[in-house]
Structure formats: C-alpha cells, structure tokens
C-alpha cells in the first residue's frame, strides 16, 4: 500500500464522516444535570477507596497467577 493509497483512504474517510461544525452547541443548559449528578454522587466518597480495593485485588491475582505458572512471567514482562 502506497502513500497515495493512504491519502485516498483519508479523503474517503473525510467524505464519509464530514468534520463537525465547530459552532455546535448543546441544545439545553446542562448545568442542572451536572449539579444533580454531583449531588447524587459526592466527590469524596467514590474514587480512591474503590480504586484501592481493585488495585490490590488485581495485584494479588497477578502474583498468584505468576506463582502458579512461572513460565508466563517473561510474557507479562514483554507486554508491560
């Protein structure tokens, strides 16, 4: 495939998915929806605790897997 083929593909893509109008705006005021979402799920409660739990579970799973199948360790290291 040549560079010309790539250019033709790009042109076809631009014709199939024309660029979006940069002046496009939301059809409604989104602030009330943002506020409802913020009130429903306060910032302090969600993120870190859940993330921490998942990180540790993932780490434990990987260690157990690597201990059970040591031959896979180089494969893991390759994809890191």
């Amino acid at each position: 495939m040549t560079k010309q083929d790539d250019e033709r593909m790009k042109q076809l893509l631009q014709q199939s998915l024309p660029p979006i109008d940069p002046a496009a705006e939301p059809s409604r005021d989104l602030w009330p929806a943002v506020l409802r979402r913020v009130d429903a799920e306060p910032a302090a409660t969600s993120g870190p605790a859940r993330q921490n739990w998942f990180d540790w579970a993932l780490l434990v799973g990987l260690v157990v897997f690597a201990a059970s199948f040591p031959a896979t360790i180089p494969v893991f290291l390759y994809y890191l």
């Binding site: 893509l13 998915l17 979006i20 939301p26 989104l30 929806a33 979402r37 913020v38 799920e41 910032a43």
Partner: protein, 186 residues
C-alpha cells in the same frame, strides 16, 4: 490577551475550584462547556450522547477537583477527562449495531458530501470505521476527520505524537482491509 486583573480572577477561580467551591466550579463549567461539548461531539458524533458525556465529564472533573493543579491550564486537563469519558462510551457501544444512514445524515457537519463518491460507499466506510477498535478510531477521528494537530490529539489521549501517528496508520490500514473484504476498492 487576558489582562492582569483577569489573570488574577482566573487564578482565584481555579484555586477555589481546587478547594471544592461549587460557585467556582459553575464558573468553569460556563466558561468551558462549549469547548468540552464540541470536543466530545467530534469524537462520538452523536449530539445527544455528547450532551450526556459533557455532564459525565464535568462530574468527573468535579470528582477530581482536589487533584487539579491551579498552575496548569484547565482546558487541556478538561479535554483529557472528556476524551477518556468519550473513549469509555465508544468501548461500551462497540458491540452494538453499526451506524445507519440516519446517523450519518444527522451529524452537524461543515461540508456537503462529494457527489463523486456513492452514498453507499460513504455509508459502508462509516460502518467499517465504527467497527475499528475505539483507541484507533478516536485517534483517526481527531487527526484525520477533524484535522486536529497531532500534538493536541496526543495531549488529549495522554500518549506521544508518535503513538498518535501509529494509531492513525493502523486505523487507515484496517479500514482499507475491511472495505476490500466488502468488495470496495478505495
């Protein structure tokens, strides 16, 4: 160009936002909602979904307020969060049905389609594009379709400029392969 008083006001808003001030958050929302919405719309190409994702993005922004560094610009940070939200949406929708004629016609585009390219070819191209892995699709949409600078695309995706070029290259190759399999020679 912002004047001294404006810069001080911006810094004050950003500092208050970092501390969780809801008025400062609203002020930032009002200032950046259009650009965030526009950026998301470029990626997902669905106005209703872009509105929902704008809400999701600002919720994520609020959730991460304590991690924001007021010395850095708000816009690129918001754009990166918006890109992540849009990518999650594309991944969730990947196994759903492809685009239809209506989807393509409904997009608020800037240009009329080239009559030299058959509508069926355009539709099949759009459908094939929708089947690409979301990480490749998002890079190709922003860099090729929307012609955004590679540097900005890289910043929004949190990858290097080289990685953006590689993703675009792979997207174009996969798209061509898909079209050839359907008997369309681009």
């Amino acid at each position: 160009m912002p004047q001294g008083a404006d810069i001080a006001r911006c810094e004050d808003v950003l500092n208050r936002f970092r501390l969780g001030d809801i008025d400062a958050f609203e002020s930032l929302f009002r200032e950046h909602r259009r650009s965030v919405y526009g950026w998301i719309l470029r990626i997902v190409r669905d106005p209703a979904a872009a509105e929902d994702l704008t809400v999701e993005t600002f919720w994520r922004i609020h959730r991460a307020h304590a991690r924001f560094e007021p010395t850095r610009a708000f816009e690129p940070w918001a754009r990166r969060i918006a890109t992540r939200a849009a990518l999650d949406w594309l991944r969730a929708r990947r196994n759903e049905s492809g685009m239809t004629d209506l989807d393509v016609a409904d997009m608020p585009s800037t240009s009329a389609p080239d009559p030299g390219i058959a509508a069926e070819v355009r539709l099949k191209t759009a459908q094939a594009f929708a089947r690409l892995p979301p990480s490749l699709r998002i890079a190709a949409t922003l860099a090729v379709v929307e012609e955004q600078p590679h540097k900005e695309v890289a910043a929004a995706l949190g990858i290097s400029v080289g990685a953006v070029k590689l993703r675009v290259f792979r997207a174009i190759r996969l798209l061509r392969k898909d079209l050839l399999e359907q008997g369309i020679t681009p």
